[in-house]
Symmetry: none
DNA sequence: AATGAATGAGTATTCATTCAT
DNA sequence: AATGAATGAATACTCATTCAT
């Protein structure tokens, strides 16, 4: 059995341990308030090791982004390509992004809070990836609006941003010990989107 | 004519100039990446002057929050207290918070991006104020749900967070030179909320 | 009845209030660690008032020295001029300096801890005053050594410094709520001196 | 020949150079008036190097204390454990502390002048160490008083403080180019103590 | 693959003093 | 006699990164 998704403890490869430590600390304290020293201490290695694997502190942040974007893009692609009716495809995609954002709370928190701290060229690339995601999501809405199953009263870009705002905002109020499960929250939020799009 | 709301130029009182400079810089670069030195240079005063009026860099941030919260709470109170039907009161409140957030883009950007950087006690107070705002907004939804003009399918807290997510997210995509005016955006977003709440 | 020695409360003249506040704070925290701001707040006035009466923070320190030296010199002069036998005169002077140092603990603490922080020219003057005191004290010892009532085994300067070391050291261990009264401590210390001088 | 006790010049290890520079400057100017910048310049290193080895400016001060206390405690222990008569043991200990204080004038000056500037927890530890020293010294006096070779007229704690006052005071008047050698001064001061204790 | 000493530029904050009023 | 706004220089400390080993 391959060790694919395991908590990166004492024995995991050094780069993973560094990334895991950085993710937790960036989410807890923010990027600027987390020192490289803290990261290497939490990962149980020294600075030299970090700079052996990563070119800079920025690289760690960039890698966290790439990881979350990769997961969410894969999920979205899968839903979009299904042959179900568009309202089903959108609902599932809309709910899924909520679930994956909650399942990767740290990544998602960092994503929205610290994107603007990336070096310009890396930021550009992240924006491009994000744009791709946004556009594929928007295409679903446009498809529904064209076929009449969704109201066309609101520009589709605005609808995407409305829903993504909720995702963005999740880390401001979501608590793992709250009364609703991630799936319940996802269903409710997807529901709000679908209701808003009713013709 | 009284000079009440003017851009704080070279002649405005020092505290206003400092606050204006800090607001612009915090929004552009983030709180942690803006140095006190930059602020005082932008305001054309010395560090001593800043610390004469503000106890710390944190105080500046806190004041920016308080200022935005004050405006939005006043507006919300006015809408909530009107005698119009609840769906009208909610729509107006929902659109207004979009407009004031756009009109004070810098404040709003800072608000969502840097709240977690405030010292714990100040953060606590801001959260309390924010909570008050949230609750008053939620009360409108509850009222409509109780009287049957709004669907009760979604817990009201979640509805508030859904809409506020959009506000939160605004600063990620809104550009003053975009195709829609603030009022148009506000109308669309309020519309989405009202449609989502249709029974 | 003249108000000569009263605690400088809210109604005492401003210079006294400032001096009293400075004395307490310098003794508690040290000269360098006490800010002018703290002093004026403790005295209930503003900075302008302080600089109206005192040329600088250093002046406050200098005044505290002068005050203690004045008292101790007066006492010593009185004892030295008495017509009692030299061993009595010395014992009384030796005990008295202990009592006045305890009665003015704050002044004494500041004296030994912060003298080196005075500006050079003021330090020079304090040293000169202190020297005068030292010499008059030494003269008593020399007189006793010459007449044979004291042992001449130890150079008189060294004897003076031995005894003054004890005074200097007082503020390191003396506690007002200790088991001995100031007078008892003074008697013991004077006793040690007299026994050390026995032929 | 091993290089064990050499002046830490340009080639000595960085921590020693820093400690030596700090010791000299603290003694000359006082702790608060010596800036970290001055220390690193005197040691020929950068601030980063200082903070690589010492956690704070306070740590430097603490290390200076520990160093002096270590030496003096070792010496006292050696004298106390000897099998000589108590009056000899006390005289030797009393003279030795004078000599080591003079030999480490800078350390001793700093000790008495700046102890109260240490952070509370570090101060507590120094006080505990100092107390241990004081108690061992006092034990010698108690032993002599119990066996009748010393007068019991004065409480032993007071006798210790009397003698230590002289040590404390040394740095106020001792000059290396004075007429007496450190050993002569030590003999005189030990003599005064022993004479004061004669029954 | 990894260490850890060292850099140097940067950080927020403090403070004695001045001065127009 | 007294205010309080303002200065400007100084302070201790932090940190991402480099590099010889």
């Amino acid at each position: 059995m391959a060790r694919t998704t395991q908590a990166p403890g004492e024995t995991a490869p050094v780069p993973q341990r560094l990334l895991a430590a950085a993710t937790r600390l960036f989410a807890e304290q923010g990027f600027d308030r987390t020192s490289v020293q803290e990261i290497v201490e939490a990962a149980g290695v020294t600075k030299g090791a970090l700079y052996h694997y990563f070119g800079s502190k920025d690289d760690l942040l960039h890698e966290i982004y790439a990881r979350l974007l990769r997961v969410q893009q894969e999920h979205l692609d899968a839903f979009a390509e299904s042959s179900a009716p568009v309202e089903e495809r959108l609902r599932e995609a809309a709910a899924d992004v909520v679930v994956t954002s909650i399942e990767n709370t740290d990544d998602a928190t960092i994503f929205f809070r610290s994107m603007h701290m990336l070096a310009p060229e890396k930021q550009k690339q992240v924006r491009a990836d994000r744009r791709r995601y946004h556009e594929r999501f928007r295409a679903l809405i446009e498809e529904g609006q064209a076929s009449g199953v969704f109201s066309a009263a609101t520009p589709p870009d605005l609808v995407v941003d409305y829903h993504f705002g909720a995702i963005h905002h999740l880390s401001s109020w979501y608590k793992p010990d709250g009364p609703m499960s991630p799936q319940e929250i996802a269903d409710h939020l997807a529901d709000l989107l679908m209701r808003a799009l009713r013709p």
